[in-house]
């Protein structure tokens, strides 16, 4: 217990608490001196909570030691480059510079947030099981909110908590795997890497704080004018997203620098593992576009705090401008979520098909293509917003254009599967599941991209179904596949196959039922984001089935979590090249040594030439 309390995580949270009080107290003191009101519904006033939230993040980072090396550098004190972490679980709760430890930290945090966001979903899904309000009623009171208000808060937070968990999940896989694939000792900037992880922790705390400070009823998009009037919780939400955004930006910066500067000998652009291409594409978006969601939220924060009328028509502002700034990130963001997942599919498929990846160069370029076209499509979220009508058609066509590079990926996957010797251990099941689910997500996309149909589909459950299909296919399934696949690399043990298969066969059909019924009720007129619907619409049975399917998914994820945590200690030993892969990380024993490869390797062939006799991808140096 004492060892737990002295970890960087606990110290950080303690200092975040102190920082929040310090910031809020400072503003309260100034307000008292100015003769302004000093308390409000949630004890402190809104400006006090905002500075408190901001100070909390700064105190967290200063208090847990993730910036101490930089402070030393600023004073001219040198620090050691590589520390080997002491063995044991503590290193995962402390500031470590090892990319493998940081990768695991990211992944576990992502799983924790998936658990929280999923629980939120189950709560409001249960409310929707029947028309009328059952338990989130107007007399229900929690955190200063009535039942329907709390529904709105949970629904909004489900969105953003899941988005942050996805960002952390992809960062986890990228952090763990990319340096190993490149043959690098670590990321280019190990301290920045640790910082990027640790700044995400106070961000998650801020997001959850929004729930207890009155919540907010804007949905995850936070559009003004609604967000300009929402309770103080929306400020915490904005700050949480802003802070998590820095995690994403700096992680992307680090990844690009790592790939450009840390590759081993012979690893030319078109001999890069395909997952690295996907990581580069995703990082280009995360590095640049993320600033725009940060800016848009910051502008609303300032509008609330200082009365700056950016989005207030009464002051000459323009609410549509917010939507442009917001979607400039938030649409490409979905490519940030899915590109690494699609990269995982392309990376694992040849291993389990024992055949070369079809059209390597086209797949590599398709990731970049999706990323670049992704910058030109944002306004398809705004067809009904009242923006200039002539903008609709160009954005419709640019959106349709995304289908071309995505189609290239599907073509490659199908051609890779064609006549392959397919084996289906758990990771491969999730790869195949991901392909099928993402296909459903892709096919349900063009109706929303087409102006004439989107005018009817906008804001219905159809969109909810479409979105969940793309994200499950593009992130959740590949994420599970990646965990099952690289788990032995990290631990030296494999996860239980039976439980893994139960997980897959329970989750996949339930998920199809869930999203197909979502689309069904959407087409019949069910609006999204509402706590109640009219019984006369006849949706009750559909919603009941969806709720049951949702719980089945939750149970399957619980099975996964049980499997994950028990296999760390009790799983079957798997120290060799378990999947018979050509990739360099599987040519050395598991778990991975602290400083990665003892001997450097050289790339001497194509990465995915499975089944071709005498072909080699990497060659390790013979002597030290």
């Amino acid at each position: 217990m004492k060892r737990f309390i002295s970890t960087a995580l606990v110290r950080g949270l303690f200092w975040q608490f102190i920082g929040t009080l310090a910031g809020a107290g400072l503003v309260t003191g100034i307000r008292a001196a100015m003769g302004l009101s000093i308390t409000d519904q949630f004890f402190f006033t809104e400006p006090a909570w905002v500075l408190g939230g901001f100070f909390g993040v700064l105190f967290f980072l200063a208090g847990n030691g993730s910036v101490s090396d930089w402070f030393k550098w600023a004073r001219g004190i040198e620090t050691h480059d590589h520390h080997a972490d002491a063995p044991g679980w503590e290193k995962y709760l402390n500031v470590s510079l090892d990319h493998k430890v940081i990768g695991v930290q990211y992944t576990i945090t992502a799983l924790a947030l998936i658990g929280i966001g999923g629980t939120f979903a189950l709560i409001f899904r249960t409310e929707l099981a029947q028309s009328g309000l059952q338990y989130l009623t107007t007399t229900f009171k929690v955190f200063g909110q009535t039942g329907p208000q709390f529904y709105n808060t949970l629904m909004s937070l489900h969105g953003m908590i899941m988005i942050v968990s996805i960002l952390l999940g992809i960062a986890g896989i990228i952090n763990y795997v990319v340096p190993l694939l490149l043959g690098a000792q670590d990321m280019a900037f190990p301290r920045l890497n640790a910082f990027s992880y640790w700044i995400a922790v106070p961000a998650a705390v801020l997001l959850l704080m929004s729930m207890v400070l009155g919540g907010f009823d804007t949905g995850w998009t936070g559009y003004p004018p609604l967000s300009a009037r929402a309770p103080v919780g929306v400020q915490m939400f904005f700050m949480g997203v802003f802070t998590a955004g820095w995690s994403s930006i700096l992680g992307a910066l680090n990844l690009i620098a790592t790939v450009l500067r840390m590759r081993s000998k012979g690893m030319t652009a078109f001999r890069l593992p395909i997952f690295v291409w996907a990581a580069i594409a995703t990082s280009i978006i995360a590095l640049t576009a993320t600033q725009l969601i940060g800016l848009s939220f910051q502008l609303v924060m300032f509008q609330r705090l200082f009365g700056m009328g950016f989005f207030d028509p009464a002051k000459g502002g323009n609410p549509i401008l917010f939507q442009h700034l917001f979607w400039f990130y938030s649409h490409p963001a979905v490519y940030v979520f899915v590109l690494p997942g699609l990269g995982v599919i392309s990376e694992l498929l040849p291993v389990f098909v024992r055949k070369p990846l079809f059209g390597y160069k086209f797949v590599a370029m398709s990731s970049l293509g999706i990323a670049l076209v992704g910058f030109l499509v944002w306004a398809h979220h705004m067809f009904t917003s009242g923006m200039n009508e002539y903008l609709r058609v160009p954005f419709m066509y640019s959106t349709m254009l995304v289908a071309v590079p995505t189609g290239v990926k599907f073509f490659s996957w199908v051609a890779t599967l064609w006549k392959g010797k397919i084996i289906t251990p758990t990771p491969m099941l999730f790869v195949l599941g991901g392909i099928v689910v993402f296909l459903l997500g892709g096919l349900s996309g063009p109706p929303n991209a087409t102006v004439s149909t989107d005018l009817h589909l906008q804001d219905t459950y159809w969109i909810v179904g479409h979105f969940h299909d793309t994200i499950f296919g593009g992130f959740v399934f590949p994420f599970f596949a990646a965990i099952y696949y690289w788990f032995p690399k990290a631990t030296g043990r494999r996860m239980n196959e039976t439980l893994g298969k139960i997980h897959f066969w329970m989750m996949t059909p339930s998920f199809f039922v869930l999203t197909l019924f979502m689309m069904r009720v959407g087409l019949l007129g069910m609006r999204r984001r509402i706590a109640d619907y009219d019984a006369a619409l006849g949706f009750d049975t559909y919603h009941l089935i969806m709720t049951i399917a949702g719980f089945l998914i939750a149970i399957s994820v619980c099975i996964f979590l049980y499997n994950f945590f028990t296999s760390i200690r009790k799983g079957e030993k798997a120290e060799g090249n378990l999947w018979n892969s050509r990739s360099p990380e599987w040519q050395v024993p598991s778990p991975m040594p602290a400083h990665n490869y003892d001997q450097p390797f050289e790339v001497v062939g194509e990465p995915y030439d499975y089944g071709l006799e005498g072909s080699k991808y990497v060659e390790f140096a013979k002597n030290k």
């Binding site: 725009l292 502008l299 009328g309 002051k315």
Partner: protein, 255 residues
């Protein structure tokens, strides 16, 4: 440093680039007061930005090849340089977003600000960029004293800019009725200048840090990445103002 020039030619280049930038700024101002030609102002700003990015920020150094191994100072500096430029690319999206906000909300109108003060602070920032360049090239030539003098000059000019904007321009604008809550015009003005001033402020902290480390003798002609990083960041702040100055002071009609 493979690209170090000898002392006199570095000074010559610094002075020449400064004169170009000063003439272009004067031209900008004259174009704006005599006839409102947005396209000319945009072109002039782009030319100035190009000059700063090439001659002061040395963007071409991203392409330098390094002879040393992966663990050499040169190779690591190359990686750091790439990291810094990626950060600046990311940061420029914030400023780009603010420019979009300004264009969307204000269009071809502008706030009524004190033109002489605007030209004054712009000149001060430009001059600070010149001294920053002198400081960096001094260090690259091993002239520690020159580095210290020029860096502290940059610091005080930068401080002068910050005071000019936040402590003089803001109260004057507020006195004229342009406050943060007065409308979209005020919101845009305070947000753009405030975001830029925040970056100037962080740049000043970096300048103090490298000045202090230089004073302790921790930089040499070969190894002074910290100086280069602070200098590039400082020039970036100047580069942003190259666009913000015309956007706030010169483009559009008064309302």
């Amino acid at each position: 440093m493979s690209h170090t020039m000898d002392k006199s030619s570095a000074l010559g280049q610094g002075v020449l680039v400064f004169i170009y930038l000063a003439v272009l700024t004067a031209l900008e101002f004259l174009v704006a007061v005599s006839f409102a030609a947005v396209s000319i102002l945009v072109v002039v700003a782009l030319v100035k930005a190009g000059l700063v990015a090439y001659y002061y920020m040395h963007i071409y150094r991203l392409n330098e090849e390094h002879e040393g191994g992966r663990d050499s100072y040169e190779y690591k500096t190359g990686t750091n340089r790439l990291g810094l430029w990626l950060f600046l690319l990311s940061d420029s999206f914030v400023f780009g977003g603010l420019l979009v906000t300004r264009i969307n909300l204000l269009g071809l109108t502008r706030p009524g600000l004190n033109q002489m003060l605007g030209l004054g602070v712009t000149s001060v920032l430009l001059l600070s960029s010149f001294f920053m360049n002198r400081g960096e090239t001094s260090m690259a030539n091993g002239d520690r004293k020159g580095f210290l003098v020029n860096t502290i000059l940059t610091f005080f000019l930068g401080l002068g800019f910050l005071i000019g904007v936040v402590a003089v321009e803001w109260p004057m604008a507020a006195h004229e009725g342009l406050t943060a809550s007065s409308g979209a015009m005020g919101a845009v003005f305070y947000m753009m200048t405030g975001m830029h001033a925040f970056h100037v402020f962080t740049g000043l902290i970096l300048l103090l840090l490298v000045w202090n480390k230089g004073r302790k003798g921790l930089y040499t002609a070969e190894q002074h990445w910290g100086v280069e990083a602070a200098a590039v960041y400082w020039h970036f702040v100047d580069l942003v103002w190259i666009f913000f100055y015309p956007a706030l002071y010169l483009i559009g009609k008064l309302v």
